[in-house]
């Protein structure tokens, strides 16, 4: 039974967000609810403090062209403010079959969409270009980073159309991402990370070497984190279709130990790569994800 609470974060519960009709509403509800809880203005990071002029290049928002300078020098410069450095956000969303797993109302993929939508909403309100790449064994959808009007809608539309696919191939997918992200930025990987830590290293390390700030959200279902079975259970892998009969004792002991070791290993790998790793359960409110991003964003 759900407990009624006055906490504003209660509105960030995934089962509450799942009741909203569109991802835009979900993102708005999540972000504004988050900042309401933080007692901060949603106009976060929109700094008015001038930082530098930068020669206009293709893809820059023409609204920030300093026309006065253009009039004086006949050159196009855009003004940059302190809060705008390194804010190109690329969301890499794992849509493999394992992400479709759900033991409750909200699947891991759905939760990942909420996180992605919220981050995109937050970033675009900061005028940061936001891009999206969805992948499983290959890239399923790609949208280059953009901060233009309508970008949010386009990204949310892309997110809305994503369904759980096949196997995960993180290395190959992020290799393709590297090809599209030549400029430094912020890369957020949202996945359940059912792969070997070395695969993560191989996939993410080149991005780190290119100067990208990387944040990894590892989404897990509560039933994966804390399986509770009284009797032997026959599991079927949603990706491979293989079946395996597992005893409850194993799930209570060895499985948990191995999963915990995997998570810790991922955490260490992320640390080695200079990336942030945040484990999220698909039944917990989104505020922890947003806070993690927020803190990461401030550091970046």
């Amino acid at each position: 039974m759900q407990t009624r609470t006055n906490s504003p974060f209660a509105l960030l519960r995934p089962e509450v967000l799942a009741g909203l009709s569109t991802l835009e509403l979900v993102a708005r509800q999540a972000v504004e609810g988050f900042f309401q809880g933080m007692h901060k203005s949603p106009r976060f990071g929109f700094s008015q403090e001038f930082a530098e002029y930068k020669a206009y290049s293709e893809g820059d928002d023409p609204r920030f062209v300093d026309w006065n300078v253009f009039a004086r020098t006949d050159r196009t410069y855009i003004r940059r403010y302190l809060g705008e450095t390194n804010t190109r956000l690329m969301i890499a969303l794992d849509v493999s079959a394992s992400m479709g797993y759900s033991s409750g109302k909200v699947s891991k993929l759905q939760y990942a969409k909420y996180v992605a939508a919220s981050l995109a909403y937050m970033a675009l309100h900061q005028h940061d270009p936001v891009g999206l790449i969805a992948f499983d064994s290959k890239v399923r959808s790609y949208r280059p980073p953009s901060s233009r009007t309508g970008s949010l809608g386009a990204i949310l539309h892309s997110l809305d159309g994503l369904t759980a696919g096949s196997r995960t191939d993180l290395t190959e997918s992020l290799r393709q991402l590297r090809e599209h992200c030549q400029r430094r930025g912020l890369v957020v990987v949202i996945s359940d990370l059912y792969c070997e830590p070395e695969a993560i290293t191989r996939a993410v390390q080149p991005l780190a070497w290119r100067g990208h700030d990387i944040m990894i959200f590892q989404i897990m279902d509560r039933a994966e984190l804390d399986p509770s079975w009284d009797e032997s259970v026959l599991f079927e892998d949603v990706e491979s279709g293989q079946t395996l009969e597992v005893s409850p004792d194993y799930l209570r002991t060895t499985y948990k130990e191995r999963l915990q070791a995997h998570i810790e290993h991922m955490n260490k790998v992320a640390g080695r790569l200079g990336a942030d790793h945040l484990l999220l359960a698909s039944d917990e409110p989104l505020d922890r994800a947003l806070r993690g991003y927020f803190m990461f964003r401030k550091r970046a």
Partner: protein, 667 residues
């Protein structure tokens, strides 16, 4: 060794619980899981305590099934027994329990000898106890010396009966006593060597080959016995005759008592100087109508009291016969009445009536009805007579000119043949075929001398037995059943214009015997001998029971229906109750058992020598042929059966326990 090795195929059924448990243990329902990356197949036995209990249940079920299959396969364990120097032997102790063994002191010696024999059985030898009189009864099956106590107890309960032992019957029945391979059979016959027990042919004394005979003589050497050989009524019917046989030396001090229907009607002290056999006459006067029980007995009892009495039934009946004729003064009525009244025993009480009276009066008082011409019955009289016959009555029909006016013989239903009746002046027909076995046709030659000028040509109805036929195969006399009754039809009247039967002596005998037969007056009183099968009519009565002289019920309806043979085991009156009436059977002891003369010494030696030769020959043949060592067979299947019963008790307990645990877990 297996009794039914094919039953072992049932062990294939062990796969069923194995499959069921495997199937049941396997989780059917698949649960989707994100990844099996961190999972491994589980060792259920190690990790699940309740699964271990399922294995216990599986084990129980497997053992139960195996035990049932093995029990049905009938395993036997052949245990080699230690044979002595002479080899193991089966000692068959046959105790003579015939009447003569009741002679003073004989039975005590027999029991002592049998008990001594039981004590002598040792080691691998087995023994068996058999009682022999008119049948062979195995009292104790073959057992080892350890069962000696039970044998002694059985001997203690055994008493001699009143029936007869025939050594020939004993010799022929001494087979199938279940001796093991290589086991000798030694028959210890404990008997009084009564000469009258010997069969007619000496060769009939031979026991089966290989059987050794050890005769244990327990008979008395000097015997004196007096017996009542029989009791009957005199020809005149006013005296009871009692025949006394035996040793004259036993006459002294003996009194003969005569009882009629349980009441003493005479007592006489026997003269020591009387010559035996002797017939004692008791004047008891005419006995009334009905059946009377006569019993004669000697007092005081001698050393063989069982033959001191004799029993007989005397039947005094005067059956009523209804003679139906066109006129009481007619020739046919006169002839028939004269013939019926000519019979001395039974004496018929003849009443003459017209056919019209049959429709109105009750006929149940008559033992039989004689109709001078069946044509008189046409119409209502036929219905009245049919009702009487079908209820168990009997009728004799003669067919005359009135019958010729009918299309079928009334009551008998026989169709008249299409041909014409033999006309006057034609050559007389004669009887060509006589059923001599029928009680009313004892003089076939006399029948062939009778000339039939005319007769009524009829076709014998289905189910009728033709007793007399003419030369042309036409029936003259046939018998048929109508429900419970009987009907005799004679296809010619007693008219001299039709035949000359009336002037032959056969006429009176035929009419009288036919009527007596139909009235059942010729049935002799029931008598039987102890140990001899007696055909009871209980089955025909449809219900009833038989009581022995002590009043104990010995036979019930079911037994009577399946085989109405009664084998009386004691002398006296057996009572047969059923079908709404009660009848007695007089049962006497076999007179041969009263003759206590012993077999001659040479005959006994010859018997033993004969059997010794046969046994030696059989032993030689057996030793020449390869044979296994004597073995003791232990029925292992019985223990499997017990184990199956115990497992069948445990299985539901364990299964219920698991169900209980599952319910709790689900709750």
């Amino acid at each position: 060794m297996w009794i039914a090795p094919l039953a072992l195929l049932g062990l294939l059924g062990l796969a069923i619980p194995l499959w069921l448990h495997r199937f049941a243990r396997k989780t059917d329902t698949k649960h989707a899981f994100a990844s099996l990356m961190f999972l491994e197949p589980s060792d259920v036995r190690r990790n699940r305590r309740h699964e271990l209990r399922y294995w216990l249940l599986l084990l129980l079920r497997l053992l139960l099934l195996a035990a049932v299959v093995l029990a049905f396969a009938g395993p036997q364990w052949r245990l080699p027994v230690k044979a002595g120097a002479a080899g193991a032997a089966l000692h068959v102790i046959v105790v003579d329990t015939s009447l003569s063994m009741q002679y003073a002191g004989v039975w005590d010696r027999a029991r002592a000898e049998a008990t001594a024999l039981v004590g002598k059985v040792r080691g691998a030898d087995r023994m068996m106890l058999v009682a022999a009189d008119h049948r062979l009864r195995v009292l104790k099956q073959a057992s080892f010396a350890g069962e000696a106590g039970a044998f002694r107890a059985a001997l203690g309960d055994l008493t001699p009966g009143e029936s007869r032992l025939d050594y020939g019957m004993l010799a022929s029945g001494a087979t199938g006593w279940g001796a093991g391979p290589g086991e000798r059979i030694v028959v210890h016959l404990i008997t009084d060597l009564q000469a009258s027990a010997s069969p007619l042919r000496f060769a009939d004394l031979q026991l089966p080959p290989g059987v050794q005979l050890d005769i244990v003589d327990v008979g008395a050497t000097a015997v004196q016995n007096l017996r009542v050989a029989g009791v009957s009524m005199s020809e005149r019917g006013n005296e009871a005759l009692v025949r006394i046989e035996g040793d004259a030396a036993a006459l002294a001090g003996r009194t003969l008592v005569l009882e009629v229907n349980g009441a003493e009607r005479g007592r006489r002290t026997l003269s020591p100087r009387a010559t035996l056999p002797d017939v004692q006459r008791f004047e008891i006067g005419e006995l009334g109508q009905g059946e009377h029980r006569l019993a004669a007995r000697l007092t005081p009892a001698d050393d063989l009291p069982a033959d001191d009495g004799a029993y007989a039934l005397v039947r005094r009946v005067q059956p009523k016969v209804l003679l139906v004729a066109a006129s009481a003064a007619g020739d046919d009525a006169t002839y028939l009445r004269a013939a019926l009244q000519a019979l001395a025993e039974p004496r018929f009480d003849v009443e003459v009536s017209t056919a019209g009276a049959l429709a109105t009066r009750s006929l149940s008082e008559f033992a039989a009805v004689v109709v001078s011409d069946a044509g008189l019955l046409a119409g209502a009289p036929e219905q009245g007579l049919r009702k009487y016959v079908e209820a168990g009555g009997a009728a004799l029909l003669t067919l005359g000119p009135r019958t010729l006016q009918q299309r079928a013989v009334p009551l008998a239903g026989a169709q008249l043949a299409t041909g014409r009746a033999r006309a006057a002046g034609e050559a007389a027909a004669r009887v060509a075929e006589v059923e001599q076995s029928h009680p009313v046709l004892r003089e076939p030659g006399a029948w062939r001398s009778i000339r039939f000028f005319r007769h009524v040509p009829v076709i014998a109805p289905d189910g009728a037995q033709v007793l007399l036929r003419f030369e042309g195969d036409a029936p003259l006399l046939f018998e048929q059943s109508l429900a419970k009754g009987r009907l005799l039809t004679f296809a010619s009247p007693l008219d001299r214009a039709w035949n000359d039967l009336a002037i032959h002596p056969l006429f009176v005998r035929f009419i009288a015997e036919s009527t007596a037969y139909l009235a059942g007056a010729r049935a002799a009183p029931a008598t039987a001998t102890v140990g001899t099968a007696f055909e009871s009519d209980l089955a025909r009565r449809g219900a009833g029971q038989v009581f022995d002289p002590r009043g104990r019920r010995t036979m019930m309806l079911d037994a009577a229906t399946s085989g109405p043979r009664l084998v009386p085991e004691m002398a006296g009156y057996y009572e047969v109750r059923g079908g709404g009436r009660s009848d007695f059977i007089a049962v006497n002891v076999d007179p041969r058992e009263s003759r206590l003369e012993r077999m001659g010494e040479p005959a006994v030696k010859r018997w033993q020598a004969l059997q010794a030769e046969r046994a030696a020959a059989a032993t030689a043949a057996a030793s020449a042929a390869p044979s296994g060592a004597p073995e003791r067979i232990i029925p292992v299947w019985f223990w499997f059966l017990l184990a199956a019963a115990a497992l069948a008790f445990l299985e539901p307990l364990v299964a219920n326990y698991h169900l209980h645990v599952q319910r709790e877990r689900r709750a």
